[in-house]
Symmetry: C2
Subunit: 336 residues, 2 copies
Amino acid sequence: MNGISMIQLAKELGLSVSTVSKALGDSHEISASTKKRVLELAKKYKYKPNPFASNLRKKKGKQIAVIIPDIVNNFFALAVDGIESVTMSKHYDTFIYLTHENLEREKAVLEHLESGLISGLIISVCTGREGYAHFQEFYETTRLPIVFFDRVPDLLQFPKVIANNYESSFDATARLIKAGSKRPALITTTEPMFTSMERRRGYQDALEKHGIVFTDEMIIHCTDDMALNYSILRKIFSQKKRPDGIFASIEKYAITSYEVCKDLKLSIPKDVKVIGMTNLRTAALLNPSLSTLSQPAFDMGKEAAGLLIKMIEKKSYAAANDIIVLPNELTIRDSI
Amino acid sequence: MNGISMIQLAKELGLSVSTVSKALGDSHEISASTKKRVLELAKKYKYKPNPFASNLRKKKGKQIAVIIPDIVNNFFALAVDGIESVTMSKHYDTFIYLTHENLEREKAVLEHLESGLISGLIISVCTGREGYAHFQEFYETTRLPIVFFDRVPDLLQFPKVIANNYESSFDATARLIKAGSKRPALITTTEPMFTSMERRRGYQDALEKHGIVFTDEMIIHCTDDMALNYSILRKIFSQKKRPDGIFASIEKYAITSYEVCKDLKLSIPKDVKVIGMTNLRTAALLNPSLSTLSQPAFDMGKEAAGLLIKMIEKKSYAAANDIIVLPNELTIRDSI
DNA sequence: GTGAAAGCGCTAACAG
DNA sequence: CTGTTAGCGCTTTCAC
């Protein structure tokens, strides 16, 4: 905290503080000549308004928060990149909070933010679907605009930015089938999430559409524990009646699938055809190169931030129930 | 902005605002019974102090900024993860700003932060070594604690957290040589950076130590343009007298090396032995699995944040010239 | 142990 | 077009 204050500027200019304030705000009440004088002196002294003072007075600032489960994940990193690209251009400051899939942490951050530090919130919720009450409560007490992205609480009425998970999962599964898979498996998480439910719906509908009878064991549930996932998959792919295709609907599961196939000497794509839901830049360099369904992560971040700032700036909450749907991108490589 | 204010608390308790303030601050001037009453009512109403008001009054807040070139890079993502793990536990809020290797952007962010929004700064500078004046200037005008990490301005007197780039590059190069490489190349950036200079020093010293005569063309300069890098590398590795080893001292160059070798049908590790400086989690899944020199990214972030908060909280700037050096980790896999 | 008063730096009525 | 005034909500002397 340092530099010159408005008071000192006013003193040196022989003007009142309020005149200086208005001049800096380019108010129409102020004469061009005065504005010029003020601006010049402000520039000379590199005057920067004290954000605490002005936020306190205006009861509003140019700071927003981003709450995500994990930054060490290409998807979220790209989303943050997209968010920052717009907050930067709109001169907003961006707080970042990581929940690490911990619901308590998520609640704690939300409660902390009820202090009024921010003017808006972008969030991708952690796994698990019980307990959305804290979002509702946050909104009730702060009335602050919130935009959810990717992992959204399906039952809550808030603006959201999501990918076309249903449709693209349908397409990906269909591609596996067309490539010759008779029993493609879906690898998904044990945690119930809206996104994975949608992907599962797309998967099942594609099976049905192509006359493949769905049975429960075609869905493989993995966890957060990579070692456990490995043994789960290894067990399943060691069976005689193993799946001959994989739609890995979570990034890390695609990698584990590769490891298991490698270790079991199952050839990809001959024995097992694989499509992975991932934004990994190295997908093309894996052996064999991995076919991917990738999310428009950067654009999702951009849209979310754009929407949020619109909500903050126009008091028009017309946007409040917007749902923006962006397309995932299917890239076929050698794994299929 | 919402919720109850201290004024309302005071009114309801029949106390003065200053008493409530002290009670909430657990001041020894206040009786235990009063503290209890205040705390209970505050809890009942979920009172949260208005951060703008208290920051304004105290001329100091619990917000810090992190400025990095790129979040879509495992190294920086991990570092942010490390930083956030400590700011979270110490109840600080973390702003994030991305420079995308753009010096102008870096300067703009710094200037913006001169407003006094934050109480401390963690930064990894963008490429290019001209122009460190803005850091000095930022410090002169704000007197705020700054911690640099990884990409640090070597000539400036500030606390820094870095990796042992010289020593570990020496070791990595030595491993290439011991594995049989007679002419290992160093792939580095055209941009002069302290980190890459250190890596280069380690590389050259290892050559000398092992009796390999260094010539200028053993250093391959790549850029930010991936397509250009590809053609640079392709040209070099098409020559008869091509290198038989690669120490890729920047993450993305290791990937391009793989692509080029694949396309030129050069076998790794038979024709070319490769070690890449990278934190990519998929390194082990590449074909062949990539030997890596990885940075202690998470810990670097943790150390940087710990140091910064120490500087913010104790006014003791004893730490001011600290340089914390953490070890890189060499993992040998099939590419060598 | 508690309270009164001043003020952090800025904005926004309202007057003039 | 410019100035006066009254705070935003909190912390911090200084009295009592």
